[in-house]
């Protein structure tokens, strides 16, 4: 369970939030000008980094506001929380060590 620092409500359990996937995916300025490849990129292609990832979350059972979060997808450390529309803050570290879970 992640403890997510909502910018409006403070630290709350992950179960109060919903995930919105990658942040900073702008709607195209001129949608009609996109070709099939560009539409595919917009609809289906998202970054999937092992390390720092800027993503969207909404505090569904709290203030119901969307915000952005910088989180490490290996350690799950939350590195920054910032408003939608603000630029991605520089991430300090990118982890690559992958802890091994139990194996059955």
């Amino acid at each position: 369970m992640l403890l997510i620092p909502c910018p409006n409500c403070g630290p709350r359990d992950e179960t109060e939030f919903h995930y919105g996937g990658q942040a900073h995916v702008p709607y195209p300025k001129d949608p009609a000008a996109l070709n099939d490849r560009e539409w595919a990129e917009l609809l289906f292609y998202r970054d999937n980094p092992k390390g720092a990832f800027a993503e969207r979350w909404v505090h569904s059972t709290g203030c119901r506001q969307w915000f952005n979060m910088l989180r490490d997808t290996v350690s799950y450390d939350i590195q920054a929380v910032y408003p939608t529309g603000a630029p991605r803050p520089d991430s300090a570290t990118t982890t690559s060590a992958s802890p091994e879970g139990a194996v059955q």
């Binding site: 099939d36 289906f44 999937n48």
Partner: protein, 406 residues
């Protein structure tokens, strides 16, 4: 069901060779799919000067972490074709590989709990029948008859309103499957190289000509990616993107029990899937964590939800204990169907996107992917699963058949 004996193993099932300086093809990832691909490359296409590179130990990824459910009752023609072919291969592989990995066709039940579920399920049974996939619709009494420990009373939150049933579906011993493929690969001359992490690719223009690893550079004519949850990471190294998101997916087992659960039960709606392993553990799968993650572990609340569902459906499980929980990293696509085919990089091929349900696909993935690597062209079964479908819009939406992580 009986608690069967597992076969005795010799000390070594495969060699541990040093990597050669060059191969005709290199498979990245020594899970089920990488091993099956290497096996069919050697067996069907005579490509024996090949290597499987595995960064950890053989089949220590999702292959060691899945709940081993095998079935083919998918909705669309394209999926029914490839998954049913896979199921037919499962039926002959123990003999072909000369290895009894305890493929147990004890049937799989997919429960319906809402009117929407019922309609969707009946539609799927119809579609399955038209595609030659064995499928039946069961009413709650028939469900109870097949699995007496299931609670079909209507005083639970989501009563069982019926189920689809595929009698030929079942489970197998996952690590034995991997070892069976590995042993045959080795016999055919394939080098299986463990502790060998691919860290980059050598390219000549847009053509891949080698792989960089922590054990040196290896030249190769062709590269096949079978890295499951790490597919995006490898694609990025090679300079292209995949429409994949990696998520943690968890499962767990109880302590050993007397045989109580004769089949496999899955529920999309309350979200749990349960079987009883040959040794006697209750094996239960959870849902994916919502966020992207490479940590091979997930959140506890996901397990809590899964347990609540399990105990409501199977009241006798209330006294069982959780013995072990673990997670794998699954490579999900937006249409819940895999990607098997060519990539924007010449001579590089990709098999990924099997997400929460690729164990069952292992034989067909291996067969079709080997065909694609050897000939440079798709096999008729994997043709619809090419990367291009995200551009053409010819998606194969299997969320109904695959929504429960399985």
């Amino acid at each position: 069901m009986s608690t069967q004996q597992l076969p005795e193993h010799p000390d070594f099932l495969w060699r541990n060779p040093e990597p050669k300086s060059s191969y005709d093809a290199v498979i990245v990832g020594g899970g089920g799919h990488g091993l099956a691909t290497a096996y069919f490359l050697a067996k069907n296409h005579g490509m024996t000067n090949i290597a499987v590179l595995e960064k950890g130990w053989l089949a220590g990824g999702n292959m060691a972490r899945n709940t081993t459910i095998i079935r083919s009752n998918y909705l669309w023609d394209e999926s029914a074709a490839i998954y049913e072919h896979s199921l037919k291969l499962w039926e002959i592989l123990p003999e072909e590989l000369e290895y009894d990995f305890l493929f147990s066709q004890r049937g799989v039940m997919n429960l319906a709990h809402t009117l929407g579920d019922v309609r969707e399920s009946m539609r799927r049974v119809g579609a399955n029948k038209l595609n030659g996939v064995d499928a039946e619709w069961l009413d709650p009494e028939q469900v109870k008859e097949l699995c007496p420990i299931l609670n079909i009373s209507d005083n639970i939150r989501y009563p069982v309103m019926g189920a689809t049933y595929q009698p030929r579906a079942g489970i197998a011993k996952h690590d034995h499957v991997a070892w069976a493929f590995a042993r045959k690969c080795d016999e055919l001359g394939v080098d299986i190289i463990q502790n060998c992490e691919v860290t980059g690719f050598l390219k000549d223009g847009n053509r891949v000509v080698g792989v960089k690893t922590n054990r040196g550079t290896i030249n190769t004519e062709k590269v096949g990616l079978c890295a499951a949850g790490h597919s995006s990471v490898l694609a990025e190294m090679a300079g292209f993107r995949l429409p994949i998101q990696s998520h943690p997916l968890q499962a767990l087992v109880s302590e050993l029990h007397e045989p109580v659960h004769p089949t496999v039960v899955m529920s999309n709606h309350v979200h749990v899937y349960v079987s009883q392993a040959h040794k006697g553990e209750l094996v239960m799968g959870a849902g994916v964590d919502s966020y992207n993650g490479y940590g091979q572990r997930g959140s506890f609340h996901v397990i809590e939800q899964q347990m609540a569902a399990a105990v409501e459906l199977f009241p006798i499980f209330a006294r069982a204990h959780v013995l072990r929980t673990w997670g794998g990293i699954v490579d999900t696509t937006l249409d819940a169907s895999p990607i098997v085919g060519t990539t924007p990089v010449e001579n590089m091929f990709v098999n990924c996107g099997w997400g929460t349900g690729g164990f069952k696909g292992t034989p067909a993935a291996g067969l079709t992917f080997a065909h694609t690597i050897a000939t440079g062209a798709p096999h008729k079964l994997n043709k619809p699963f090419a990367l291009e479908r995200f551009e053409t819009g010819a998606l194969i939406d299997e969320h109904g058949a695959a929504a429960v992580a399985h």
